[in-house]
């Protein structure tokens, strides 16, 4: 019986009933993530600098963005990325005078004439595919955790990768020329049943 009692102590510790980055709820019945930790499938991940707990992952805090899904969150200047309309609401900040259109006449403010991504800030990357070059915003929603395409709807990353990353990815890119955001490459996985090419981290495309 003493051995069994000892075994009981090894199995269940009433003073440690939750895992790392978790705390017992006030009623003592559940484990909740500590402040600043994101709830994943089986545990809680403590978010880093400039990050806030999101849906299964750590999202960038308002005013910050990632150049690629695995990159750190970088601060974006306040005027960078502001919504604009070439017809009615032009960009007024002298540093970000270019209104890059994404739909109709609406878009976001950025800078033009970059040569490399180091000329851009806030996680933006230099898009040199078509002149004039400009600092391109990271795809909205890219890297967001998802369980289905529906959770990615309404963003610029509308494909939910259920096989490997379980994150929203940009789909509909072109392999040649590769028009994926800097830090990702366009990958055609049609032979694996993926309808449109998707932007994936470098080195992960099997084709």
């Amino acid at each position: 019986m003493p051995l069994l009692a000892a075994a009981a102590g090894c199995t269940y510790d009433p003073n440690q009933r939750c895992d790392e980055n978790q705390a017992l709820s006030s009623d003592g019945r559940q484990c909740i993530c500590v402040p600043g930790a994101a709830m994943t499938a089986h545990g809680c991940t403590l978010c880093g600098a400039n990050e806030i707990p999101g849906n299964g992952i750590c999202d960038c805090a308002p005013g910050y963005s990632r150049p690629m899904p695995s990159a750190a969150c970088q601060a974006a200047p306040a005027a960078l990325g502001l919504a604009c309309d070439t017809a009615s609401a032009p960009c007024t900040d002298p540093a970000y005078t270019t209104c890059h259109v994404t739909s109709g006449t609406t878009g976001y403010c950025t800078s033009a004439g970059c040569t490399t991504s180091s000329d851009c800030s806030g996680g933006y990357a230099c898009d040199t595919t078509t002149p004039p070059t400009f600092c391109k915003r990271p795809p909205v929603g890219a890297g967001q955790a998802c369980q289905s395409n529906a959770e990615c709807a309404g963003t610029e990353a509308t494909y939910c990768d259920l096989t490997v990353s379980h994150q929203c990815l940009v789909q509909g890119c072109t392999v040649t020329p590769d028009n994926c955001f800097s830090g990702t490459v366009c990958c055609d996985l049609s032979k694996f049943g993926v309808a449109q090419p998707i932007c994936v981290p470098p080195g992960t495309c099997p084709i």
């Binding site: 019986m1 009981a8 199995t11």
Partner: protein, 448 residues
């Protein structure tokens, strides 16, 4: 006139008392009447020798293995037997408001045993429960939502509807006794803990159902693997043990161990016989790891198809129990205390289903106990009984705590038929006020 009436009354009273005495003697003497040695004419010597030879052959074949000596094909007898029960349950008072079924008849168990003495101390047992489920059952553990409908249309009956049922394999094992101290059993067997789990069948158990803590399976009700057990006797004291090694618990424990982490268990018991009846005390333990995982297909960086194992749930657990049973003449007193500790692994903690902000289930300790007492009288084998139970679930359950009480009458007019009538009261300790559950259950259980 008065004297005449007095005499008549006396005669009447005498007749009544004699009738009662006669009835008593008749009842008590029923078996006695049956013991009259029915002498038959002495069979001829050759007939006797033939009988002796036949009996010896049967005994030898059963003990030595193989077929009957007189049967070159080697036919072996398969014993088929079983039990079933039929109940009427009525919910009383406010508890009737919490379920759509307040008054119902039901077939509970219909179990068939297939046993065979294979010879040379080998023995096999398979038990199958036939069920009307899944029809009418629910897949949601909270019992909320529509029930399962298994109606199909029978091609052999003009397409008329029929509802199909299912089976549950309760156990299937093979064992061999090497020594009084050593029997090895392999297969799927009932976990040897406590009293109720081993009693198992509705004609054997006193009440209409299992005590709540037994039903919650703080120990797994059955396991698949190897069990070793034995006993030894010292005067009027029997000491026994069980040791188990199994797949433990899991989503499909009878066919796959998903964590390659075998569960161990055991039981020790003492049984003492004296002028004050038979007293049995025991203790048991179970330690294992529950794992539920699945495999997903993926493509690695080199373009090869690969598999990724995803753990859905995983926890370590330890269960302990103690039990006591005392039988003295018609008196029966029994009780069990059971405890179960659960500690999730870091990659196996599951999301809590309790209301509120998203959270995980915490590690928990749950325990419970019950006590039952009854007295078996000779008349119709009547046994009034009463019991009480307490259950404290781990804090991650929607039923943190409850206690229950039951009062009943168990009749056994013949060895094979049991009639039960039981009142059950359950008090729940929940976050929101919940009516106590009160029910009246009448059950007949029979063995065949």
């Amino acid at each position: 006139m008065k004297a005449h009436r007095g005499n008549s009354m006396s005669k009447l009273l005498i007749s009544v008392s004699l009738l009662a005495s006669f009835a008593t003697a008749l009842w008590a003497g029923q078996a006695g009447a049956q013991t009259a040695d029915a002498r038959t004419p002495t069979p001829a010597a050759n007939d006797v020798e033939a009988q002796v030879a036949a009996e010896m052959a049967a005994i030898q074949s059963q003990s030595a293995g193989g077929g009957y000596a007189s049967d070159p094909i080697g036919h072996r007898r398969l014993d088929l037997y079983g039990f079933a029960d039929f109940s009427y349950q009525r919910l009383l008072g406010d508890s009737a408001a919490v379920t759509p079924s307040t008054s119902t008849f039901a077939i509970g168990n219909l179990n068939l045993y297939m046993a065979s003495e294979l010879g040379d101390e080998w023995r096999s047992l398979v038990e199958v429960r036939f069920m009307y489920l899944p029809n009418g059952g629910q897949t949601n553990p909270s019992l909320v939502g529509p029930t399962t409908d298994t109606t199909v249309f029978d091609n052999n009956d003009f397409g008329r509807p029929v509802q199909w049922g299912g089976i549950h394999i309760e156990r299937a094992w093979l064992e061999r006794t090497f020594h009084k101290l050593l029997t090895v059993r392999v297969g799927h067997w009932l976990t040897p803990y406590g009293i109720w789990n081993v009693d198992h069948g509705s004609p054997v158990v006193i009440g209409v159902g299992r005590p709540f803590i037994v039903g919650e399976e703080l120990f797994p009700a059955s396991q698949t693997g190897i069990e070793v057990y034995g006993t030894t006797d010292i005067n009027n004291l029997q000491l026994g043990y069980h040791l188990t090694l199994s797949n433990g618990r899991g989503p499909s424990p009878t066919t796959a161990d998903l964590d390659n982490n075998k569960a161990i268990g055991g039981r020790l018991f003492l049984r003492h016989e004296s002028a004050f009846g038979t007293l049995s005390v025991g203790t048991a333990f179970y330690r294992g790891q529950y794992t539920n995982k699945h495999v997903e297909l993926g493509v690695d960086g080199k373009g090869a198809t690969t598999t990724v194992t995803v753990t859905d749930s995983q926890y370590d657990e330890l269960s302990l129990s103690a039990d006591l049973k005392w039988q003295w003449r018609g008196l029966l007193v029994q009780g069990e205390v059971i405890e179960n500790d659960v500690a999730y692994t870091p990659s196996g903690r599951t999301v809590s289903v309790l209301a509120g902000a998203p959270a995980f289930n915490s590690d928990y300790r749950r325990w419970g106990a019950y006590g039952l007492a009854g007295y078996r009288f000779a008349f119709l084998g009547a046994m009034p009984y009463a019991g009480v139970g307490y259950y404290k679930e781990g804090s991650s359950s929607w039923i943190p705590k409850l206690w229950d009480f039951w009062l009943g009458l168990n009749l056994r007019p013949t060895p094979r038929v049991v009639l039960k009538l039981q009142y059950t009261f359950v008090h729940f300790y929940l976050d929101s006020p919940t009516p106590d559950a009160k029910m009246l259950t009448a059950q007949t259980a029979w063995s065949f």
